[in-house]
Symmetry: C2
DNA sequence: TTTATTGCAAATGGTTTGCATCTCT
DNA sequence: AGAGATGCAAACCATTTGCAATAAA
């Protein structure tokens, strides 16, 4: 199997993901990394985002808006999607709360809910007015 | 504004959505309705699914698989996505449990979580082996 | 030198849209 | 007749992929 080789582009992508909490789309990552590597292509960004996701160094988040969002923080946590401003926000709960939620959700359900990655929907503080 | 007008195709789509619990994709709806209306087009299916979603007679569910899933059951409930078999399942909780989950999720979060539509991830009973 | 990674462009898959025609009301 | 709905095809957008060139080991 592929032995990972260093790449400046991938490094830049990782660094950007680690520096932001805005859960950017692949295109946003592309735009940003382009500032340092003007020749980088969207394909490379996608390839690296998928690679990072596969090896567990990034999270891919599906939203109703079509474009996936990426998260460089892989510590277990859940997400919130604001149906008004379309932002993805982190829900910062401790493991006890996460487990409590999962237990309640799985009552009379035959299956295993992952420790995190749950996506809640609603309106964020900024959008409630 | 548009005054809704009857259409056999839309009726057939609604009926199919009401009859299934498998959260079909637009294409699956298309294939099915095609049996009764061989001339129906994918565009018409999409237009109607979006219309039904807009007027609150159907639910659109985003998944990591790209294609959206649709649900004819609009009573408040949450969903579960099996990361192995890729199915969307219903989580049948009563309002008390749903509210309890939302309350726990919203602790130290500034915003309002919708009563339902939360998507959990994990492995379903069939896939745990 | 070997193999992973890149840039580019073409291809894919899901969904939307313009338009002429048809169908409800 | 008038407004909405349809079928078809073209357009769109996000993402993937093939390939020759490049860079890391």
């Amino acid at each position: 199997m592929a032995t990972l080789k260093f790449s400046r582009q991938r490094e830049s992508i990782k660094q950007y993901l680690a520096s932001t909490k805005e859960h950017p789309t692949a295109d946003m990552v592309y735009m940003h990394v382009k500032e340092d590597y003007p020749n980088i292509s969207l394909g490379t960004v996608y390839r690296n985002l998928n690679l990072l996701t596969d090896i567990g160094e990034a999270l891919k988040i599906a939203t109703p808006d079509g474009a996936d969002r990426f998260d460089g923080c892989v510590k277990p946590h859940n997400h919130f999607f604001c149906t008004e401003c379309r932002r993805v926000l982190d829900l910062d709960l401790d493991m006890k709360e996460i487990e409590q939620i999962n237990k309640a959700a799985a009552s009379n359900f035959d299956g295993i809910i992952e420790s995190s990655n749950t996506i809640f929907y609603g309106k964020c503080g900024d959008c409630i007015k």
